[in-house]
Symmetry: C2
Subunit: 189 residues, 2 copies
């Protein structure tokens, strides 16, 4: 499975494509940071980012897009720009019928380093290691985008196993409730 | 000038198109509220909204798009959705080379009612009045979208007069500085 990880942002947007192999093996495909000029109109910046996303989707043909979920940031203006950048990426993926999955920063950190509170250096170190890169991806946004893709590859099988178990439990509960209702009806007859 | 006003949102997005005539006359063209289902994927909701924006741009051919600028809201999740919806609208406009202008809620209220702290009922009442509508536009998101378009029509000439005055003042300052430098040079010669 090929995953396109995106660390959204207007000033710097991290793009990373990773292939998942058997077991937990992962292979780097592409990584870059897209920048849009801060003195440009917001709508122009969004268009530049959207065009870059379209190009990456054309060039790398991922099967799923993993985007960092933004909750809040100290700077409201930055948070809004980040949310808008993430929305633009999700829209481009939806246009191509690609699934879009959001992961929180702590989910990404936990998946890659084992700790949801790992710092940027630790995340970069693990990304460099698991992808077998000769040099660490820079800036942090590039490493974060790759970490998102890896997180998705490693969490996805676990998540689908969980979803399966949950569906099975619900089916059991439904059967149980039906039998109980049947028994009650028989008793009141 | 025809303005497309948008009160962005994922659950409810207000769309309003208004034509500006001579002086301060304004004429309603279209108004609606676009809804996307809350239980759908975020990327699907953004796609539905984007398709609706494209259709309105096709149908009504506005010359400018006015969007409410979101600063912060109590609910972070809602604020993110609002920012993303606004970003999707701005992107669609930028794709067609249409200018996108953002106005804050207090700018809109001040332009339409005279007070930046007017309540929703007051805004709706003024929008109904200035557009000569028989019934008040509902829900509030619809009235807000029309208010945004009116705000843009009424602020734009004032803003361009201000920009002109500022440019003239800067030109004067430049001439003055040049003359001063010339005089100093003559004195030191």
């Amino acid at each position: 499975m090929r995953v396109f990880g995106v660390d959204p942002g207007l000033t710097r947007c991290g793009f990373g494509v990773v292939d998942g192999g058997p077991g937990r093996t992962v292979r780097p495909v592409a990584v870059d940071v897209i920048r849009t000029p801060a003195d440009e109109d917001l709508s122009r910046r969004l268009l530049q980012l959207s065009d870059a996303v379209e190009k990456w989707l054309d060039d790398h043909r991922p099967q799923v897009v993993a985007v960092e979920r933004v909750f809040s940031q100290h700077n409201v203006r930055t948070a809004m720009g980040t949310a808008q950048a993430g929305g633009i990426v999700a829209l481009a993926a939806a246009r191509r019928d690609l699934p879009v999955v959001f992961h929180t920063p702590s989910e990404v950190k936990a998946a890659v380093t084992g700790s949801g509170r790992a710092d940027k250096a630790q995340v970069t170190a693990m990304v460099t290691k698991v992808l077998g890169l000769k040099t660490a991806p820079k800036p942090a946004d590039a490493a974060d985008a790759l970490a998102l893709a890896i997180c998705h590859l490693w969490r996805a099988p676990m998540k689908s196993r969980l979803d399966e178990a949950r569906a099975r439990a619900e089916q059991l509960a439904r059967t149980h409730r039906a039998k109980l209702a049947e028994a009650r009806e028989r008793m009141t007859r």
